[in-house]
Symmetry: C2
Subunit: 223 residues, 2 copies
DNA sequence: TCGCCAAGTGACCGAAGAGTCACCTTGTGA
DNA sequence: TCACAAGGTGACTCTTCGGTCACTTGGCGA
């Protein structure tokens, strides 16, 4: 691995850019896009507001979309890609189940480790996708994630490892499941009495098993 | 049924209130809470802005939360209640499956017939639930829906008609499934080429069957 | 017919926040 | 040591929008 050919100036510039993105991540995650202010991002990053415009010339939107693309979507894309290293796994029902269990666990672990990014995804993902003025870029990113999930589903269906059902809705549905469970988690967290009911979420692995069981085996008792 | 004991004045007042709520519904559905303006609501309702404050003294929040409570949550609550008229149905796997299939179909039909209200739910539901300053009222409403779905699940699990899995996450997951499928629907609708792939959504009934199959029977081919 | 009151109205106000720019700081090379 | 360039700074401007209130209107009872 070559030492990156960056001058000290470029390295420092990159560092500052990252610091700004980090601050923005925290603020957007807490407040949501509309309620977040550039003053707060600047303050948290310990820069003047004007500096933000040196790095993100188009201001708030620029900052947010860059963040969404690089951090939120990029992170999820990486998790999805990692879950399907071997196309052979999708040849059998068992292999498919294991692969998707891995994906779900990966997504949940990612949520634990990158909570800010996931909060942005939870809060702003659907709003962005449904906006009437939905930015082409935003739409592409959103659909990119669904695409990435759909592809292995399609492969598995082709192989007879999954029921022959329309794959794109399944992809949306899988993302909806993960979203639902994260909501359940946050719901319990915010609940007045702490945990109203012991949840199955001692770990990402247990939770992933829970979702996988329902998704692959169904809610009905197997006879 | 008695004719409601309302004076003409009260009836007209109620009518105007409804007109304002209708306009607000359209505007909030299209723009989302933050981007919606009271000027636009007033214009669409053909009232002056000041009039809005006669009916919703606390302004934008008041209008939105009233709308959310009465129209969005109220509508969903009605659909959920309708789906479980007979507790006996939850005694067997087959009855349970049929009842939840009815619920899902009801939710999807409700989406078709009350698209504005559902768009508000889709866009603002999670953001509201996750807000750091989450209004107690908002939280109660959100949780109320989940509660209403959880209750029959609990009954079915008690009866052995469903696997013994934690019920609250299942409730969240079911709502996530419906949300996911609606996203798939809207995604296809917005897609540049119209419908990139024929979706299973010729009707709410077919779509409900799709979700029910996955949720109850699972994705794996039954042996 | 007159007067009163309930109710609608929209010009106006103030707060908030995105975006700008003249100024200043720092570091570098001559 | 000096001059210059690169780049950070935050006070300022301008727009938008939620909320207010003095005025108008219209209907009803005396």
């Amino acid at each position: 691995m070559e030492v990156p050919a960056l001058s000290r100036r470029d390295r420092e510039r990159l560092l500052r850019r990252t610091a700004i993105l980090d601050a923005a991540r925290a603020v957007f995650a807490e407040k949501g896009y509309e309620q977040a202010t550039l003053d707060e991002v600047a303050e948290r990053a310990e820069f003047g507001k004007g500096t933000l415009y040196n790095y993100f010339p188009d201001g708030k939107e620029d900052l947010f979309f860059t963040l969404f693309e690089e951090v939120v979507v990029g992170g999820l894309g990486g998790v999805i890609a990692e879950a399907f290293p071997d196309p052979e796994a999708l040849a059998t029902p068992g292999g498919t189940r294991a692969a998707f269990r891995g994906l779900i666990e990966g997504l949940l672990t990612h949520f634990e480790n990158h909570r800010d990014a996931m909060m942005i995804f939870m809060k702003e993902g659907h709003r962005m996708a449904l906006s009437p003025d939905r930015n082409e870029t935003a739409a592409r990113h959103w659909l990119g994630i669904v695409d990435a999930v759909q592809r292995p589903i399609e492969a598995a269906v082709r192989n007879g490892a999954l029921r022959a059902l329309p794959t794109r809705p399944i992809a949306h549905l899988l993302m909806g499941n993960v979203r639902g469970v994260i909501m359940a988690h946050l719901d319990a967290e915010c609940a007045p009495s702490g945990t109203p009911e012991p949840l199955p979420f001692g770990s990402a692995a247990e939770t992933a098993e829970f979702i996988t069981t329902i998704l692959f085996d169904g809610l009905l008792p197997r006879d």
